[in-house]
């Protein structure tokens, strides 16, 4: 009945001990392992014995490649393709975690901000490090918009820098909040059915059809949101990486 209960981390078994800290294999780690295994299997089996006329699985694997490749090319140009492995991994990882999270009784890894924050920070530092290595000091042109009068430039630069630093926050919070809110909404509506049924008896179970219809609709919406948020996460990654490739035109 508790809508938050589904996000609880459960320790399954200890795997290591560092200092006084026991490192546990959690349900979150289990879901990630499942997602990575499924993803690897999908791509390996899909591309094994590739034929000119692709089968179903090969077609799906090629589609996922094309999807991410188009996304990267449209934002970062052909140079962006050097980040293809990175973006593809992030996109498929988040997508599978979101999708598996919808399955009843499954744990939604991306509903924990620590996961999304680490992913977003990885992107952030990739942009920072790659931009600095590639362009050196010119990377900071990113913070200096063209055609701004000199007397307000210091303020604009400060705002641009803050805006740059705030990226990982909005990047991570968006994915996390969407998954969290969606799953809580599902649980709350499911709770209504139980409340009606136990409170009103037969009449309650009959009227429980209404929240149940809502759940069906919400499931469809959640499936859309799961894909959409993975897509948004990936496309923002592309946009941010583009800054590292071409800072300040």
């Amino acid at each position: 009945m508790d809508p938050i209960h589904q996000f609880q981390i459960v320790n399954l078994f200890p795997i290591a001990k560092i200092g006084n800290h026991e490192i546990f294999f959690t349900n979150s780690a289990l879901m990630m392992l499942i997602a990575v295994t499924a993803l690897t299997a999908f791509l390996v089996i899909g591309t094994a014995g590739a034929r000119p006329v692709p089968g179903r699985l090969q077609s799906a694997a090629e589609l996922s490649y094309e999807f991410v490749a188009t996304m990267l090319r449209s934002t970062g140009g052909s140079e962006g393709m050097r980040f293809f492995p990175f973006v593809f991994t992030i996109f498929m990882f988040v997508l599978l975690l979101n999708m598996f999270g919808i399955i009843p009784y499954a744990f939604t890894v991306t509903s924990h901000i620590i996961i999304t924050a680490v992913l977003a920070l990885t992107v952030f530092f990739t942009v920072l490090v790659y931009g600095l290595i590639r362009h050196g000091f010119h990377f900071f042109n990113l913070f200096v918009p063209k055609g701004v009068p000199i007397y307000i430039l210091p303020m604009i630069v400060a705002i641009e820098i803050l805006s740059f630093i705030s990226r990982p926050i909005s990047h991570s919070v968006r994915l996390f909040a969407n998954m969290l809110a969606g799953h809580i909404a599902l649980k709350v509506f499911a709770g209504f059915i139980i409340l009606l049924g136990t409170g009103l008896g037969a009449l309650g179970w009959a009227t429980g059809v209404l929240p149940f219809a809502m759940i069906v609709a919400l499931f469809a919406l959640e499936t859309l949101v799961a894909f959409l948020q993975a897509y948004v996460f990936a496309i923002l990654t592309c946009i941010y990486l583009n800054d590292a490739i071409h800072p300040g035109h």
Partner: protein
């Protein structure tokens, strides 16, 4: 511009003709739309698909800016002992950065990646 060939095509048309002029104006408008769109198509695809997602997107942009500003100001105050000025100044700057983020995300302000 991407299509230089059309520029020359335009120039050969008689400019004194009123209809031709308005047609050229219309084409210019279309072309300006196209050139100012590339970065916006991205946000246009990602938004609108559900208002729910869009709301989250914009609010997280805003909150992110303010949080970073407040956090930085607070840290500076602790290190430099300038309390409360760092917090005040950076909170305001963070607010501005949040607004800038929101305007960029909504496609109202031009993205800095736009080719100029």
């Amino acid at each position: 511009m991407a299509d230089g060939t059309r520029d020359e095509g335009d120039r050969t048309e008689p400019p004194d003709n009123e209809a031709a002029l308005s047609a050229r104006l219309k084409r210019l408008g279309e072309r300006l739309d196209q050139t100012s769109r590339p970065s916006e198509t991205v946000s246009r695809q990602t938004r609108d698909t559900s208002a729910f997602a869009r709301g989250f997107r914009l609010s997280s942009e805003m909150v992110g800016g303010v949080l970073v500003g407040a956090g930085l100001g607070w840290l500076l105050d602790r290190w430099l002992g300038t309390s409360p000025w760092g917090l005040i100044v950076f909170l305001l700057l963070g607010f501005a950065a949040g607004i800038l983020n929101v305007m960029r995300a909504a496609g109202v302000a031009p993205d800095r990646n736009l080719k100029d």
